[in-house]
C-alpha cells in the first residue's frame, strides 16, 4: 500500500498540465518492477532499436517468429495453388476427386489451397463430410493460434496503467496505441483486413473541435471539459477485479429464428421453469390467454407484454429478461422473428454475445423458414456478421413429429452445412432437441421415453451454461451505444444501452452523440440495481444531466471526452454482398444499420471489388456489385454519425446495409473521412 500513500500525498495541480493526464500513460522507466522491466522496450537504456530489443527477448521473439512462420506458410499455400499439379489417377478416381474438390470449394471458398483439398480428399477417401471437418477444424486452429498471439501484447499493455499510477511525469504518448496497431482479431468475416496505421484512434474529420493533430485536439477538449482527476486516472482492470471478481460472469444471449418458431414460448417456459416467473403471474397469463382462445401463447406472454403483441400473437420488439445459472447471469433477448421487425432484431443482436437459433421441427415449417427468404437463414447470417460466434441451435416443437430422431437428424444435417457456410465453427454450434410448450428437455434431462430412447445429451439450460464468456475490452476508452431513451423515475431522463468498451462510473463526464454535447452521469442502474461503476459488456441504464433529451436519439454513441469517437458523414467500408435481387450501383440508397442506429445512406462510390478470401483487388471501380461479391465502397449518410474503424473498435466498426426489408450487405469500416 505504500505506493498509494505517495500518490495521495502528491499535489496534483502542480503536476497537471492539461494534455499529459489523458487516459493512457506511457510506462516510465524508473517505476517499473524489475521483472517487468526486462520485457519493456526503452530507448533511454541503450536499447537503441526495437528490432535489436526484440531479438534479445525470447518471449517476444517467439511471437514474431510464429507470425512470420504463419505468413510463410500462407505464402507457400498461395504458391501451392498456383503451381500445384494434380496427382496422377485413373479416370474414375479423377472424376471422384474433381467433384469432391468442387463440393469442398463451394463450402470453404478459395481460402484453402488446392493441394490441401486434394490431399485431404485422398486421405479421407472422398468422404465430403470428413474432409470438410478436417479442413475447417484446421483453419480454426490456425485462427485460434493467431488470437493467442494477439492476446500476448495485450497482457503487456494491461500492466501499463498500474505502473502509470505512480509515475510522476507521464509521457504524452498513450500506450493504448499498441493494440490499435496490432492486427485485428478476425471476427465476423474472414477477410484480411488492412494493417491499421499506428496512428491515434481518434481520426474524426467533422469534429466541432478543430486543430490538426492529436495533441492540440485533445488538449483543446481537455481545456473545455474539466474532467475529474478520478476519471482521468482510473485503472479499469483494478476496478473491475475489485467489483466483479466475486460475481458470476455475465452473458447476453439473443434468441433468433423464423416467425412462429416458438422463440418467445421457449423463453417464457424457460423463465418459468427456472423460477423467474411466479406461479401467480403464470396463472394469470393462462387465464387471460384462455379467454382469447390462445392458450398456447401463455408462455410467450411472459415476454410479449404490449397489448398489440399479445393480440397478434407475435413478438414485435426485443423482450428482455434474465436468468441465473450455476455459474452465469444470462440476459435473454427475445428477438422478433417477423420479417418486418428485423431492424429491432438487429439492434438486439448488436448487444448479444451468443445466440440461440430456434427452428421449428414441424414438417413444412422448418422448410419454409429455411428456404430463401426465410428468417432462419437471414437471422443466422445477421448475427454472425454482427460478431456473434457461438450458436446454440434448438430444434423446437419436436413433439409434433413424435420425437422422431430421423427428423432431428435431417434438420441437423441441413443446418450444419448451412451454418458452416455462414462462418460458424462446428465446435461452437450445438444442437438440442426440445419442446417449448411442453417444456421437455429445457431444464431437466429428457423425460419423454420417445426422446430418451435416442437422446441423452445436455438440456437447454446446460447448453446456455456452457457458452463461453467473451473477452471484455475494459481498458479501452468508453463507448456506449444508446438503444432506448425514456423518462425515468425522478429527475432527468434515462438512456439504456450496452457498454461496448471501457468503464463508466458515477459522476463521470461523457460526450453524447454526433453533436458531442457534454453530460454528466447522475445515476447508473443495471437490472434495476444501482451501481457505482459499470464495465464493458454490461446492459445498463444511465441517468444523464446537462444534456437535452431532444439531442439524444436511439443509436447515438456515448463516449469518453478524452478519446472521443470520430464523427463523420462519409466512410469507406469493406462489404460482403448477400443475395440481392438487383445489383448495387453507385448512388444506391440503403438503410445503414450501425449498432441501434438506423440511418438512410447512399452508396456513393464503388472503389474496388476485391477477392473474397485473399483481399486482392479484382477490379477497380466496378460498375455494379452482384450476388456474393466482396467490395470496398464508400457510404455517405445525410446526417453525421459516430462510427469507428473496425481495426480500432470491432464492436463499433460493423455495419449492415438493408434495402426494402432485405439485408443486402454486411461490412466493416476501413476508413473514416
Amino acid at each position: 500500500m505504500s505506493r498509494h500513500r505517495i500518490v495521495r500525498g502528491m499535489d496534483y495541480n502542480d503536476e497537471y498540465d492539461g494534455y499529459d493526464d489523458v487516459y493512457g500513460h506511457s510506462v516510465d522507466d524508473d517505476c517499473v518492477s524489475p521483472t517487468d522491466q526486462q520485457w519493456l522496450y526503452d530507448r533511454a537504456r541503450g536499447q537503441q532499436s526495437m528490432s535489436a530489443f526484440i531479438s534479445k527477448n525470447k518471449n517476444i521473439e517467439e511471437e514474431a517468429e510464429a507470425e512470420d512462420d504463419d505468413d510463410e506458410a500462407y505464402q507457400k499455400a498461395r504458391r501451392d495453388s498456383e503451381s500445384f499439379q494434380m496427382p496422377e489417377l485413373d479416370e474414375m478416381e479423377q472424376a471422384k476427386l474433381s467433384s469432391c474438390v468442387d463440393e469442398v470449394r463451394s463450402v470453404v471458398g478459395d481460402a484453402v489451397s488446392e493441394r490441401r483439398i486434394v490431399e485431404t480428399s485422398m486421405r479421407f477417401d472422398y468422404n465430403i463430410q470428413q474432409i470438410l471437418d478436417e479442413i475447417l477444424n484446421d483453419e480454426t486452429n490456425k485462427k485460434e493460434k493467431e488470437k493467442e498471439l494477439e492476446k500476448r501484447p495485450q497482457k503487456l499493455k494491461i500492466t501499463a496503467p498500474k505502473t502509470a499510477l505512480i509515475t510522476t511525469t507521464p509521457k504524452p504518448t498513450p500506450t493504448k496505441i499498441t493494440l490499435a496497431a496490432q492486427k485485428d482479431a478476425r471476427r465476423g468475416f474472414d477477410i484480411a483486413s488492412p494493417k491499421a496505421p499506428a496512428s491515434p484512434v481518434v481520426s474524426g474529420r467533422n469534429t466541432p473541435v478543430d486543430g490538426g493533430d492529436e495533441a492540440t485536439r485533445s488538449s483543446a477538449i481537455n481545456a473545455s471539459f474539466k474532467i475529474s482527476k478520478d476519471q482521468a486516472q482510473r485503472n479499469a482492470q483494478q476496478l473491475y477485479s475489485l467489483e466483479r471478481s466475486t460475481q458470476k460472469s455475465h452473458i447476453h444471449m439473443i434468441v433468433i429464428g423464423h416467425v412462429d418458431a416458438g422463440k418467445s414460448t421457449l423463453m417464457g417456459h424457460l423463465l418459468y421453469d427456472t423460477g423467474n416467473v411466479s406461479q401467480r403471474v403464470m396463472h394469470k397469463h393462462e387465464q387471460e390467454s384462455k379467454k382469447l382462445g390462445k392458450q398456447s401463447f401463455m408462455y410467450a406472454w411472459v415476454l410479449d407484454e404490449t397489448g398489440e403483441e399479445r393480440a397478434r400473437g407475435i413478438t414485435m420488439d426485443v423482450g428482455q429478461s434474465r436468468i441465473e445459472t450455476a455459474t452465469k447471469i444470462v440476459t435473454l433477448l427475445d428477438a422478433p422473428g417477423h420479417k418486418d421487425f428485423i431492424p429491432n432484431m438487429i439492434s438486439g443482436a448488436t448487444q448479444a454475445d451468443v445466440a440461440l437459433l430456434v427452428v421449428d421441427a414441424t414438417r413444412g415449417e422448418f422448410e419454409s423458414g429455411f428456404e430463401l427468404g426465410g428468417q432462419t437463414r437471414e437471422h443466422a447470417i445477421l448475427v454472425r456478421s454482427l460478431g456473434v460466434n457461438q450458436l446454440g441451435v434448438v430444434i423446437n416443437k419436436l413433439d409434433t413429429v413424435g420425437w422422431s430422431e430421423e427428423r432431428f437428424q435431417e434438420i441437423v444435417h441441413k443446418l450444419k452445412a448451412f451454418l458452416k457456410q455462414a462462418g460458424f465453427k462446428e465446435s461452437d454450434v450445438s444442437f438440442t432437441p426440445c419442446s417449448g410448450l411442453t417444456g421437455e428437455n429445457l431444464t431437466k434431462r429428457a423425460q419423454e421415453p420417445a426422446l430418451k430412447s435416442w437422446y441423452s445429451g445436455s438440456h437447454l439450460l446446460d447448453v446456455i451454461e456452457h457458452f463461453k464468456v467473451p473477452e471484455r475490452a475494459i481498458d479501452r476508452p468508453l463507448r456506449m451505444s444508446v438503444s432506448d431513451i425514456y423518462k425515468g423515475t425522478g429527475s432527468g431522463f434515462c438512456i439504456s444501452g450496452r457498454i461496448e468498451t471501457g468503464v463508466l462510473c458515477l459522476n463521470d463526464k461523457v460526450l453524447v452523440g454526433a453533436s458531442r454535447e457534454q453530460a454528466q452521469v447522475k445515476a447508473l442502474t443495471m437490472d434495476e440495481l444501482t451501481q457505482t461503476s459499470v464495465f464493458a459488456g454490461d446492459q445498463i441504464s444511465v441517468t444523464l444531466a446537462g444534456v437535452d433529451i431532444n439531442n439524444i436519439t436511439v443509436g447515438c454513441i456515448i463516449c469518453d471526452p478524452q478519446l472521443p469517437i470520430p464523427v463523420t458523414t462519409r466512410f469507406q467500408c469493406r462489404i460482403i454482398v448477400f443475395n440481392v435481387k438487383v445489383p448495387i450501383t453507385m448512388g444506391y440508397p440503403v438503410l445503414l444499420h450501425h449498432q441501434s442506429l438506423i440511418e438512410p445512406a447512399v452508396v456513393c462510390k464503388l472503389t474496388a471489388s476485391i477477392h473474397k478470401s485473399t483481399g486482392e483487388v479484382v477490379k477497380k471501380k466496378p460498375r455494379c456489385l452482384g450476388n456474393n461479391s466482396c467490395a470496398l465502397v464508400e457510404v455517405e449518410t445525410s446526417r453525421p454519425i459516430c462510427i469507428e474503424r473496425y481495426s480500432d473498435f470491432k464492436e463499433l466498426g460493423r455495419v449492415m446495409l438493408r434495402v426494402a426489408g432485405v439485408t443486402i450487405a454486411a461490412g466493416m469500416v476501413t476508413k473514416i473521412r
Binding site: 432506448d484 433529451i549 448512388g587 460498375r623 452482384g626
Partner: protein, 394 residues
C-alpha cells in the same frame, strides 16, 4: 400551366407566354428558365424618390419588368421561383441595368424569351400544359417513431413534414411509457395529415409502414376522428389506402409506388412510371450487365452505336449552367429518338429521380449487348477516378 402565346421562329429563337396555375407549374418554370434567358413579368418594386429639398419618399409600385436572368432560385417547400437579373427594358421606375428579383406568382402571366429553344424545353411546355396529368396522391410512410408526410404530384414528391418522436421501448412492467409515446406520435402524424393534405385535390392517401404500424395508426386516426368529430377525415375515409413498406424513410416511397394495388389506383402517373423504368434498369444490370450502362461516357458510346433502346435521364442535367453541356445532352436525347429509342426524362424531385441523379444522372438500356464498353473503359476511367479521388479526399 396555360400557354397564352408562342412565337418560335425557324432558328428556334422566340418567346413564349405562360401562366402558372398551380404550384407544380413553378417546378416546370424552374426547369424551363435558364441563365441568360429574358423574362418579362409584372412585379412590385420599391421606388425611392428624392424631392428637390432633399427629403426622400419611398413607394411600392407594381410595374412590368424584363430582366436578363442571372440566377435562379427555387424553394421546393413553398414552390416559389425567384429570378434575379438586370433590367433590360426601359421603364419609368427602374433604370436600365438595375438589378431586380422577380418572384413568379401564380395566375400572373410571364413571357420567356430564349436565344434558342430546344426540343427538351418545348416538350416541357407541352407537358406542363397537359391537364390530364394531374393526379395528386398523398403518402404517409411511417415506422415506429418516424413518419414522412409526402405529396406526390405528377413531377414532384414534396415532403410536407417529417415527424420524429423517440418512443421508449417496452420494458418489464413499464409498457405505459411505450404506449403513451406511440399515441403522441400518432397524434402528430394525424395533425400533419389534417394540415397538409388538401382533400379537394388529393385523390388518395397512402399509408405505408412495416408491420402493423399502419393498421394501428389507421384505427387510431378514425377513433379520434369520431371522438373529436373531424368531418374532413370521416368524409374521406374511403380515400385512405394501407400499403406495405419496409421502413419509414423517404426512399421507401419507391416500394410503395411499386405496389400493384397502388399502381392500379394511380394508373399512369409519372412517379410510378419512373420507378418502374429504374427498376427495369437494375434488373437488366443484374441479368445482362452488358445491356445496361450508366455514366455519360458509356451512354454516349452506346448512343454512337445506335444501340440505346431506353434512355433514362435526370432533368437536373438540363438545368446545368453550361450551355454547351446542355446542348450535348439535348443532342443525345434527339439522337436516341431518331434511332427509334425511348427517352424517359426523370424528375429529380421524385425518389427515383433522386436515385438516378446519384447514379450519374444518365443510364441506358441497350438493344444488344455491348460488352466491349465495359472492358474498354478501364484505362481512361483511371484518370477520371484519380481526379475524383483528389477532390474527394479534401
Amino acid at each position: 400551366m396555360k400557354l397564352l402565346g408562342k412565337y418560335v421562329d425557324k432558328g428556334m429563337q422566340g418567346n413564349v407566354t405562360l401562366m402558372p396555375e398551380e404550384s407544380e407549374d413553378m417546378w416546370h418554370a424552374y426547369n424551363l428558365i435558364a441563365e441568360g434567358d429574358s423574362v418579362r413579368s409584372t412585379t412590385i418594386r420599391k421606388v425611392q424618390n428624392e424631392t428637390a429639398t432633399g427629403s426622400s419618399t419611398s413607394s411600392r409600385v407594381r410595374t412590368t419588368l424584363t430582366i436578363a436572368v442571372e440566377s435562379i432560385d427555387f424553394d421546393t417547400q413553398a414552390c416559389v421561383l425567384r429570378l434575379k437579373g438586370r433590367n433590360i427594358e426601359e421603364n419609368p421606375y427602374v433604370k436600365m441595368g438595375a438589378y431586380h428579383t422577380l418572384d413568379l406568382e401564380l395566375n400572373r402571366k410571364f413571357e420567356l424569351r430564349k436565344p434558342e429553344w430546344d426540343t427538351i424545353a418545348l416538350e416541357r411546355i407541352e407537358m406542363a400544359c397537359d391537364p390530364t396529368q394531374s393526379a395528386d396522391v398523398a403518402a404517409v410512410v411511417m415506422q415506429e417513431g418516424l413518419a414522412h408526410v409526402c405529396l406526390i404530384t405528377a413531377s414532384m414528391t414534396l415532403v410536407r413534414s417529417k415527424i420524429e418522436v423517440s418512443i421508449p421501448r417496452k420494458r418489464k412492467g413499464n409498457v405505459q411509457q411505450h404506449e403513451k409515446g406511440l399515441a403522441k406520435f400518432y397524434e402528430q402524424v394525424m395533425q400533419s395529415i389534417l394540415r397538409h393534405v388538401n382533400f379537394d385535390v388529393v385523390k388518395c392517401v397512402l399509408i405505408a409502414s412495416p408491420g402493423f404500424v399502419r393498421d394501428q395508426f389507421y384505427d387510431y386516426m378514425f377513433q379520434q376522428a369520431v371522438k373529436l368529430d373531424y368531418k374532413l377525415l370521416l368524409e374521406n375515409k374511403s380515400r385512405f389506402m394501407l400499403v406495405h413498406a419496409s421502413s419509414g424513410f423517404k426512399h421507401s416511397l419507391k416500394e410503395v409506388l411499386q405496389d400493384p394495388a397502388v399502381i392500379a389506383k394511380m394508373s399512369d402517373t409519372k412517379a410510378a412510371g419512373e420507378v418502374k423504368a429504374l427498376e427495369q434498369f437494375y434488373m437488366m444490370l443484374q441479368c445482362e450487365p452488358a445491356k445496361a450502362f450508366y455514366g455519360k461516357k458509356h451512354v454516349l458510346r452506346a448512343a454512337e452505336a445506335q444501340s440505346i433502346e431506353t434512355l433514362l435521364i435526370s432533368d437536373n442535367l438540363f438545368r446545368c449552367q453550361d450551355v454547351n453541356l446542355r446542348k450535348e445532352y439535348v443532342n443525345l436525347v434527339e439522337s436516341v429518338r431518331d434511332a427509334g429509342g425511348e427517352v424517359k426524362i426523370f424528375s429529380s424531385m421524385h425518389i427515383s429521380g433522386e436515385q438516378l441523379a446519384q447514379l450519374t444522372g444518365i443510364a441506358a438500356l441497350l438493344r444488344f449487348p455491348m460488352p466491349e464498353l465495359e472492358d474498354s473503359d478501364d484505362d481512361d476511367d483511371e484518370d477520371g477516378a484519380a481526379g475524383g479521388d483528389n477532390s474527394d479526399s479534401d
